[in-house]
């Protein structure tokens, strides 16, 4: 089953317009861009105008992107859990990256802490529908300069799935992650890239100099980079879904082309998270239903560009069959981690995945013989065929747990969906076992995190 949000003609026109934007308008390279990076760009033949615009000729964009691999592997500690992005499956990541947590004991929001990363990574490890752990919150109890390494190590200890970092905008932190990845490879924890990183172009059309430098550090090490755009329609992108789609496409291609120009063949993932502004406040409104068309259309554009595709959204996005889908576990426009929401969203994901799956037509599934055997007026409850298939049925555990109780009924009160999901989340966090990192790797990683970034900056 496929959802076709764009015709080929429409996709071509959007792509052509994006190339025009890159060629004529260009990306803004802020003055704070480091001199070595600016020099490398100039050496690669890219002209930076006096106003900091980096205009990318369409031929250069096309040539650069041809180097990008279609297949990218996100390595996991457990090799069975690698996410192989090759167009044959959709891998789901948890949502990120919030700054608060809905405390499961008090029910109140509080600043997120490192223990929340450990708990959410453990929970994501236990829930099979999540394939990649996106850093869900920023640990506010860890000093900023030590945060990224500590967060990554904490997540790594709590899940055997791939861990993807979000917007690492300090190059020294990216270099620390590169060193940690090297340790993981050298100690045999995984042969594939154990960490990847999402870097956003700041809409409209502005490069984050730190993010660019971080991405180049990853590219040099062969670690996957997610080239991401998160436009907000009506605020940081045009007030139409196609205009938002176009701007995001230009930003993603431009950033990916820069990486490929400097590091041909580096693994890059096309990532579009289109959103709409709330017309009353201008803040992000994830509930505008056009967002799902935009996410699905973006997936189609990414697929045409020959890159693995990553988007957010719901069923419509899933039907477009991206390589990665971000969904689950955060509330209030992805700012508040909720453990119970992770459980509820995980159930929704299962339902959407099944909704998008075609049902095979075979003699057994058509069940003509069974219909004959039961005949008019009977029932199918005691047919062997029913018993064989009944375990394929889907029963909501959390999304539909509320049942009205008639006044005066002796039926016991029923816990709310939220309560049941919270209980399940806490049970899994308390009981799910994650194999520890090999001690040598763990100790080496701990040393790297303690030493901090400056050492690694000089090592380059």
């Amino acid at each position: 089953m496929r959802f076709e949000p764009l015709t080929e003609t429409e996709a071509l026109s959007v792509h052509d317009a994006a190339l025009q934007i890159l060629e004529e308008v260009g990306l803004l390279l802020p003055p704070s861009t480091s001199k070595p990076v600016a020099t490398r760009l100039r050496d690669a033949g890219l002209a930076i105008s006096a106003d900091g615009r980096l205009r990318l000729p369409r031929a250069m964009v096309g040539a650069a992107l041809r180097h990008a691999p279609r297949r990218v592997v996100l390595g996991a500690r457990d090799a069975r859990r690698h996410a192989t992005l090759d167009g044959t499956a959709t891998y789901v990541t948890t949502d990120g990256c919030g700054s608060k947590t809905l405390d499961p004991k008090t029910g109140l929001r509080r600043p997120a802490i490192l223990a929340d990363i450990a708990a959410s990574a453990r929970l994501a490890d236990a829930l099979p529908g999540f394939h990649v752990y996106w850093m869900m919150v920023s640990a506010e109890d860890v000093p900023l300069q030590a945060r990224v390494g500590r967060e990554y190590l904490t997540a790594l200890r709590s899940t055997t799935k791939h861990v993807q970092m979000i917007d690492v905008s300090r190059p020294e932190e990216a270099r620390l992650l590169v060193d940690m990845a090297r340790v993981l490879r050298e100690t045999g924890v995984t042969a594939e890239a154990p960490v990847s990183m999402l870097i956003s172009v700041v809409s409209p059309l502005r490069l984050d100099p730190g993010g660019l430098e971080s991405a180049l550090a990853f590219a040099a090490a062969g670690l996957p980079i997610v080239s991401c755009s998160m436009p907000i329609s009506g605020v940081t992108s045009p007030a139409t879904a196609p205009g938002t789609l176009l701007l995001a496409h230009a930003e993603i291609l431009g950033f990916a082309a820069l990486i490929q120009t400097l590091h041909p063949g580096a693994p890059v993932i096309y990532c579009s998270f289109p959103a709409f502004g709330d017309p009353r406040s201008g803040i992000t409104n994830y509930r505008d239903p056009r967002r799902f068309w935009a996410a699905a259309a973006a997936t189609r554009l990414g697929q045409r560009s020959g890159l693995p595709c990553f988007t957010s959204g719901e069923l419509a996005s899933l039907l477009a069959r991206p390589d990665m889908l971000c969904f689950g576990g955060l509330l209030e426009v992805s700012t508040v981690l909720s453990f119970e929401q992770m459980v509820i969203d995980h159930e929704l994901l299962r339902d959407w995945t099944l909704s998008a799956a075609p049902q095979p037509i075979t003699p057994d599934t058509l069940a003509l013989d069974v219909i004959r055997a039961v005949g008019p007026g009977g029932h199918f409850l005691t047919q062997r065929h029913t018993a064989r298939h009944i375990r394929e049925f889907v029963v909501p555990r959390f999304a539909d747990a509320d049942r009205p109780v008639e006044p005066g009924s002796a039926a016991p009160p029923v816990a709310s969906s939220q309560d049941q999901a919270r209980s399940e989340a806490l049970r899994l966090i308390a009981t799910h076992e994650v194999p520890p990192l090999p001690s040598a790797a763990d100790a080496a990683l701990e040393r790297l995190v303690l030493e901090g970034a400056p050492t690694h900056a000089t090592a380059r």
């Binding site: 007026g377 409850l381 018993a387 109780v405 005066g408």
Partner: protein
């Protein structure tokens, strides 16, 4: 083979919903001279209770429980002659007339209840669907049944339940039968309003209800006391 192992195989046949094996094992037990009452309890109904507990927890699905009940029924069929030789036929309190009320041809709920009741030793007189009040009256009079179960799926046919109760009253039979009602639109309040002795919202709670009604047959404690006790919590302890 020890008796314990035989009982375990019977229990497995029930759990797996294998009626043929359940019947064959019952026949084997009779040939070995085992007490049919002990065979029924230790080999079959105890296993069906376990399946029912699983259903109440949500671990067992309805078709699986129905197949288990069918397996017990098959075993019961094989054991019945020996059981009759050991004891008097079932009394009126275990004899139940079931039917979907007039104007309503839906019967799946009634059939589920009938299957479970039979598996637990009730004798069922199933009148089918679209049953007029006078046919319920005639069946009670002819069989001497002490229990009546009325089913309806449609709000438009719910009044048919009251018509059956009125007909039993007019025939002078109401005081000697316990009447339970059920079906998607039926509520405990409706059951109380029409003067039924109980309401059940699903098959297992219906079984619990009829077991409790059979234990306190008409002429015993006041009718209606079971109405509350058989709704929600009945699902948790088959």
């Amino acid at each position: 083979m020890g008796d314990g192992l035989l009982f375990e195989r019977m229990q497995a046949a029930v759990t797996e919903g294998d009626a043929d094996r359940a019947r064959a094992l019952a026949e084997e037990a009779l040939r070995a001279g085992l007490d049919p009452i002990e065979v029924l309890e230790r080999g079959y109904t105890s296993a069906l209770r376990t399946v029912g507990d699983g259903w109440a927890r949500g671990d067992v699905y309805l078709p699986e429980m129905m197949l288990s009940a069918e397996a017990v029924k098959a075993a019961l069929h094989a054991l019945t002659p020996a059981l009759r030789a050991r004891s008097a036929p079932s009394d009126a309190s275990a004899l139940c007339v079931l039917g979907t009320v007039q104007g309503d041809i839906h019967d799946i709920g009634k059939n589920i209840v009938g299957t479970l009741l039979e598996a637990f030793g009730f004798l069922i007189v199933d009148l089918g669907t679209d049953v007029a009040p006078e046919r319920f009256v005639a069946a009670v009079r002819e069989t001497g049944a002490g229990l009546v179960g009325l089913s309806a799926l449609l709000t438009s046919t719910m009044p048919g339940m009251k018509a059956v109760l009125d007909a039993l009253e007019e025939a002078g039979l109401r005081s000697r039968v316990r009447v339970a009602v059920g079906g998607a639109p039926i509520t405990p309040a409706f059951a109380r309003d029409i003067g039924a002795d109980g309401f059940a919202e699903d098959g297992v709670s219906a079984l619990r209800l009829f077991q409790s009604l059979a234990a306190a047959p008409a002429g015993g404690p006041a009718a209606g006391t079971a109405a509350g006790a058989m709704t929600g919590e009945a699902r948790h302890a088959l």
